[in-house]
Amino acid sequence: MSHAATSTMTARVASGRRSGSLTRTNVRLGERVAEALLLLAAVSSVAITVGIVGVLVFESVSFFRHVPLLDFLTQREWTPLFADAKFGIAPLVAGTLVTTLVALLLAVPVGTVVSMWLSEYAPRRVREWVKPALELLSAVPTVVYGYFALLLVIPALQWIASKVFSYDLPGSNMLGAGLVMGVMIVPYVASLSEDAMRSVPQNLREGAYAMGATRMQTAWKVVFPASISGVTAAYILAISRALGETMVVAIAAGNRPTLTANPLQPAQTITAFIVQVSLGDQQHGSIGYQSIFAAGLTLMLMTLVFNIAGFYLRRRFREAY
């Protein structure tokens, strides 16, 4: 700084237009209170999560005092409420995975195509109507979807099975429940994927078009890969939703734990089992009561595994722009 500038500054300081000390005196109470409230809110959400996991683990520990972990993982039957109780989690895990898989086989392709259409093809006016309508679908209570499955979809499937394949489809099955669950999560996949695709910068699209790409080529070869990170996040959310979905499967999948990979069979999911026990008159602290915590912990670990897998997939296939 030049000498002249320094001296002007000194002069200005010396003139002391604003008097008063700079020492910290003002407490600013409002600020402090607001900060404290925000911190409390943040802490409480963490605390609640920790609490839930704590209870799950705690109750599961007493469950595993009675049931060897090896039995839990390897036995092929789950009958904790019977006199001759068996505690193999496999049937419930199978039921959960099969219904989830059926749901994803419907929701991922349909949701992706819908989002692609909304983002790249639909005129703005149409999109402004369709997207909120789609999101409204997720406001339908899941119990409604459950009855939709039981009273409409499954009878329809039974009719098709008997007429076309001469197959006697059970009145509740994982296919029907899974399909309805798929319909239920299409809006999530579509809406989130559409957000991801629309946030791809326009100059990438223009770059593709400028080289003679068609709309289809631009959409699938440029926009989709560029948005894959967000689209994967949408898929992961869909998986979590499907794994944790309760009402539809409790109503329509049949409530008998069966170790099968055949979606045409009835089976029970982890969530449906938890509902069944919670509604029943299991004594607090009984082994049947504790079994729902073990099942809940298993479900949480499954969701966690998929989330972590999704996280790594996202990093692996990321096309950052």
């Binding site: 005129p123 990438l204 593709a208 078009y209 400028a210 080289m211 003679g212 560029a226 096309e319």
Partner: protein, 312 residues
């Protein structure tokens, strides 16, 4: 109306027709219209009034002739009758203040406006040697863009590897053999003067290149489409001076292979790289001349005021 083919016409350009002075190329009706249309304040350069340095346009084939071109964004009349030749294997610069319509004009040549709703073309741009009006509604913009490519203001490589970026165009054209793609990619990267920097890292993501390298990659990407003409939309405005200089050198090298139309904000750039310069103002063409003449002895007062920095 003749149709437009995606392939570069096999015959040597203009083998079948004599060199075209501007007046001859315009379709009859447009020529008549132009006679009534005072929008253009100076006739295109005529033979005989050229600088010694620049070849007379009469001997130069025209790649594309815009005649009384109008363009509307909804109700906004953005181009008001532009009549301008684009000479083959020459660099034509479009200058003018922001909002004068130079980018809008550029984007008519590859029908980029078709991507957006509520846009309308009027008049004609006749592309040679096909001799078709490329802004006519019967023209397939996809086929057109296969032959006229574009480089954008901000480098816009795809979030893919360097190789895949350049291979994008050839793949669209149905090249799928690995060997052929490799050849095309190498050729294009050499053409874009970026082969030496990228040959050992073709599988790296293009976003790991610097801004100037990304822009040269984008040029290479457009070269891989074997274009007859490249549209540059302020290609260096996001780059530093040394990267800018490299792009400008590259444009001079490319001039032998392709016809170049470049929009620039930078008058020095126009005078450094271009052979012809068009000055536009408020959607109209004010003056079109060989670059040296436009900058040294502008015919219009408005041009003079703009190039001396009195506005814009």
């Amino acid at each position: 109306m003749r149709t437009l083919s995606a392939k570069r016409p096999p015959a040597p350009l203009h083998a079948d027709m004599p060199a075209r002075p501007v007046e001859v190329t315009a379709p009859e009706d447009s020529a008549r219209e132009r006679a009534n249309h005072p929008g253009m304040r100076q006739a295109p350069p005529q033979p005989g009034e050229q600088d010694a340095a620049t070849p007379a346009p009469a001997s130069l084939p025209i790649k594309a002739q815009s005649t009384d071109l109008h363009f509307h964004y909804g109700k906004f009349h953005a181009l008001r009758g532009i009549t301008l030749p684009v000479y083959e294997h020459r660099i034509t610069a479009l200058i003018g203040p922001s909002g004068c319509g130079k980018s809008t004009f550029l984007r008519c040549f590859n029908r980029m406006h078709d991507l957006y709703a509520d846009t309308r073309y009027g008049g004609s741009i006749i592309l040679h040697p096909d001799n078709v009006n490329i802004v006519a509604s019967g023209i397939d913009p996809i086929l057109l863009r296969m032959r006229i490519s574009m480089v954008f203001q901000k480098p816009n490589p795809f979030p893919k590897s360097i190789f895949e970026n350049v291979a994008f165009g050839p793949r669209l054209r149905g090249v799928s053999k690995k060997r052929e793609l490799q050849d095309e990619v190498e050729k294009a990267l050499r053409g874009g003067a970026i082969w030496e920097e990228t040959k050992d890292r073709l599988n790296d993501n293009a976003y790991r290149l610097s801004g100037g390298q990304q822009q040269r990659l984008c040029i290479a990407r457009s070269l891989a489409c074997d274009p007859e003409m490249i549209l540059f939309d302020e290609p260096t405005s996001a780059l530093d001076p040394s990267a800018t200089l490299r792009i400008e050198e590259l444009m001079r090298e490319l001039r032998d292979k392709v016809t170049i139309l470049v929009v620039t904000h930078n008058m020095h750039q126009a005078s450094r790289v271009s052979d012809y310069t068009a000055f536009m103002y408020l959607g109209e063409l004010v003056e079109f001349s060989p670059t040296a003449r436009l900058f040294q002895t502008p015919a219009q007062k408005l041009t003079e005021e703009y190039i001396t920095g009195r506005f814009g």
